[in-house]
Symmetry: C2
Subunit: 225 residues, 2 copies
Amino acid sequence: MGLEPADVDKLDDIVKRNRPSHRGDYLFREGDKFQCLYIVKTGSVKTYAPREDGGEQVLGFHLPGELIGLDAIEKCRHHCSARILETSAVCEVPFVQLEELSTTIPSLQHQMYRLLSREISQDENMLTLLGKKNAEERLAAFLISLSERFKRRGFSPSDFHLSMSRHEIGNYLGLAVETISRLFTRFQDEGLLKVERKHIQLLEIERLIAIVQGEERTSSQRTFP
Amino acid sequence: MGLEPADVDKLDDIVKRNRPSHRGDYLFREGDKFQCLYIVKTGSVKTYAPREDGGEQVLGFHLPGELIGLDAIEKCRHHCSARILETSAVCEVPFVQLEELSTTIPSLQHQMYRLLSREISQDENMLTLLGKKNAEERLAAFLISLSERFKRRGFSPSDFHLSMSRHEIGNYLGLAVETISRLFTRFQDEGLLKVERKHIQLLEIERLIAIVQGEERTSSQRTFP
DNA sequence: AAAAACGCTTGATCCAGATCAATCGAAACT
DNA sequence: AGTTTCGATTGATCTGGATCAAGCGTTTTT
């Protein structure tokens, strides 16, 4: 990512590779002191914030290659929790050391700014989704997002495993579990995908993308044109 | 903010103070090349992103002291537009120069990380709001947020001018204009605030905060306990 | 192997807030 | 001063998705 090999080594030296973590393990909890950023190597992680009403808001699902904990830099304290969704390998990067390193390696500093900025863009994108999109646009956007992220990491973009529950998807998308379940059924009936428990096959990615873009739905059961 | 006076001077040297801008002026538009961050000195600015369906999503309202444009660092391109809401003074900070300066001033680098991190936290907070809160909780949260930000800058926390339209508030909060209008009327009827056109007086900030926290509403017209 | 627990699906009903429609009022323009 | 324009309010109606309520598989526990 634009670093000299020597610099990559230095970065490599401060990264701590942990043994695999298991479903339900915490990377950190809301209120913990901020020490490290976390990078998912394999598996998946969810982050969620407590709500005033006692519930939780899922903030994101993190796949291999993705960074967790950037929101804790300012206050040096985590205001969300991070839990492992399936057996995962997650690296730790002590932030103080990363910061020191970035003062001596301008391209690392630049990369850090970019990473933080990207996180902001992603959140803003999510705001647009929650602000105006309807239920099927949200689920389609979610599936396309997963698909693209898997693809970028060399996994199949059309055939994957959902490591999170329907409940967690619903929470993330601001929808009820029942709505998620009904939408999966409907998408399957319309031939957009095939779903069996947590195994998803996207059959018509193009049409899913069209749905995300708010395209007028052409219901497949329409019989009288 | 933790910088040496000499460093403040260096920072000061790269900040460009512009003449006042007027309502409707653009700081930048979606698609523009990213050159500068913007700091609101006086007045207010809104940022908004285009939606796939042709509409717009208001991403934020920016008051004096607040920074605009952090989401553009990654791609070196703005993916939202920023428009002046009322006659405002806005400074420009050329990002390349800021970045150079931050390689030589570690405390400035640290401050940059904090600013970016804070933006992420704020967006995550907004996700929680859009994910589960109902209409009155959203408007109450919006008003409390404005109140706190005005207070921090030395303005009245309970008596202020809304520089944005009801339509823009609704768009920002994921609600229809009519809902915003009805809520203002209701809040006023309940004695929480006084609203006249764009002039707001918060009469019972405590109760507004209680609403944000999802507290069970005690309707003022309840007559049979 | 039975039973408990949990996640998912499906159906029925309800409601918060959207949408539609009309009016009003302030500000900008002749 | 009158007219147009645009934002705000208010009322009536509609609806997408929440909520309530069963069942149904799977997995885990005993």
